[in-house]
Symmetry: C2
Subunit: 328 residues, 2 copies
């Protein structure tokens, strides 16, 4: 159990380090705590003993350890009211009633990325939760057509197909069958349904069913698993901790990696969740702050990614604000 003063010192160190990006000295704090630097130093030593602070070298000031950040966000961080100017800008987006929810979300995260210099991600519902709403075909010429797939959450995918020597009527028959029989099926179950419910029927009623069936089969197997929107990736290049090109490459590759992104949308509770350093699964020096949102029609995850030395309070307040506005 930390004393009150230790708590305050730790809090101060985390906040100063976030602000200045360099190790915090005892001298800097003693003014604020009205005691000598020696006193602060002995407190710092105990906090280091407890694994909450670290040194970069024997005679350096202290920086928060991963546990130190953890302790900070769990126990010390205060709720921060959003900057009025920031809030005003965000409100403009949400008060624009012509905008559809998903546009509000992406616009507001774009704004947050610009304001904070962090990176934002919106992860829509996965294909498991998207139900087929409708499919359409648009023929381009004799041998090419476009299949449009729309889900109940408003997610759209399209695929360009080549069908040699297949009559358009037969394709339309198939589309009608699909629209009649498997509307409302989760996207990721459609391939199975196609096989067991549609294939036998088109085998009977549709000419060239083999070719048509295969074409539609690929449409659904290629369906993107998740609607992903990453904004402000280049902001990573602004942070002083990321000046090593190899590291940057590593992070950029991670952000394009499906597994990483899936991990981000996993196992959250309904609050703002914070994953610091190694917990972020991206890079030891990064933090992911994220939250799920859920409305009548839609759900997903929004995440802000930045250096471990990130303005936790500011980001949390922004995410809270957005989550609230989305859910209304």
């Amino acid at each position: 159990m930390l004393t009150k003063r230790q708590n305050n010192i730790l809090k101060m160190i985390v906040e100063q380090y976030i602000k200045l990006a360099k190790p915090v000295s005892s001298k800097l704090l003693c003014k604020h705590f009205k005691c000598s630097s020696a006193t602060i130093r002995s407190e710092m030593a105990s906090l280091e003993e407890l694994g909450l602070l670290e040194k970069t070298h024997t005679s350096s000031g202290r920086i928060p350890s991963e546990n130190g950040y953890r302790y900070y966000v769990d126990h010390l961080m205060e709720f921060k009211k959003m900057d009025l100017e920031d809030m005003r800008k965000l409100q403009i987006i949400f008060k624009n009633h012509e905008l559809v929810l998903s546009d509000c979300i992406s616009k507001s995260l774009q704004l947050i990325s610009d304001m904070t210099s962090y990176t934002s991600i919106v992860l829509g519902t996965s294909s498991h939760e998207n139900l087929l709403k409708q499919i359409d075909v648009v023929p381009l010429d004799e041998s090419q057509l476009i299949v449009l797939v729309v889900t109940d959450k408003g997610h759209v995918e399209h695929k360009n197909l080549k069908l040699e020597d297949v009559s358009l009527d037969e394709v339309k028959k198939t589309v009608n069958l699909i629209n009649k029989l498997i509307i409302g099926t989760p996207i990721d179950e459609i391939s199975t349904k196609l096989e067991y419910e549609i294939k036998p029927i088109i085998g009977q009623y549709v000419n060239q069913h083999e070719q048509i069936y295969n074409a539609f089969y690929t449409v659904f197997t290629d369906f993107q698993n998740q609607n992903i929107n990453i904004v402000g990736k280049n902001n990573i290049l602004k942070q002083p901790e990321f000046s090593n090109v190899d590291k940057i490459r590593d992070i950029f590759n991670k952000l394009e990696d499906h597994e990483t992104l899936e991990q981000i949308s996993e196992d959250d509770d309904n609050n703002i969740n914070i994953y610091i350093g190694r917990e972020s699964h991206i890079d030891d020096d990064m933090t992911v702050i994220k939250t799920k949102f859920k409305t009548a029609n839609d759900e997903g995850t929004i995440a802000i990614i930045g250096p471990k030395r990130m303005e936790y309070d500011r980001v949390v307040s922004m995410l809270e604000f957005i989550k609230e506005n989305i859910e209304r």
Copy 2:
């Protein structure tokens, strides 16, 4: 006019520099040219005089100047037969008759990026050349619907609209009108046509025409001007010349910048065109190699972007190969 030997020396220097990424010394060349390093040095001095070579400092070896590269690609570079293995892999893509052209293109450029560690870009036809093929609407619930726009080139865009208190029938009437009256119009002329040809009519026949008209108007004004596909952007981080974070940020921003991309699709002749260094309009240390392609149904530009110190012959042969295959 350069002597034969000067040509050969310049060629050698460019190729060695491309291979090894460090200034080329006279010693390295004298073995190959069966003369002393002093002879090479005096030749190098003349080539520098002519502005074809440069030094990084007084006593360094030589590197090609921008003009040196230019001279190399215009006069010295030999046609290189593609590596058989590379060719085989690319052919698999183009021989797959189930793939639609645009998928062949993006897959083959993905492959090229992987093989070369450069960045590839496909720029589709701009909205000016895309003609409206069909629009569809899919209602999601009482107040939301999705508008799908398909062009004759197979380009698809969709937009989620919110229409409060508007009956679906009225929307469908509008869609039918649009489909009847302005199919075949270039995308970028649609907003005008909407105003002068559709607005007056829906004003007569459609209730709530004001709201519906505005909604559709935004659909077409938000239409992406160009179909852009960038592959292997992170490869930039692999090149030794790009180890400066600020420079990287600059390049990444350029690659997201519409103006830059537009410039890439501009004013080419029908061959493989090479823009070196400053000519690339991206960065003094980068080169863009690009070509237009044109088929019965589609056209666009494919470009490979890499360091100035790029394997020109290899990239040119690959682009030629792809262009040929596309156009067949």
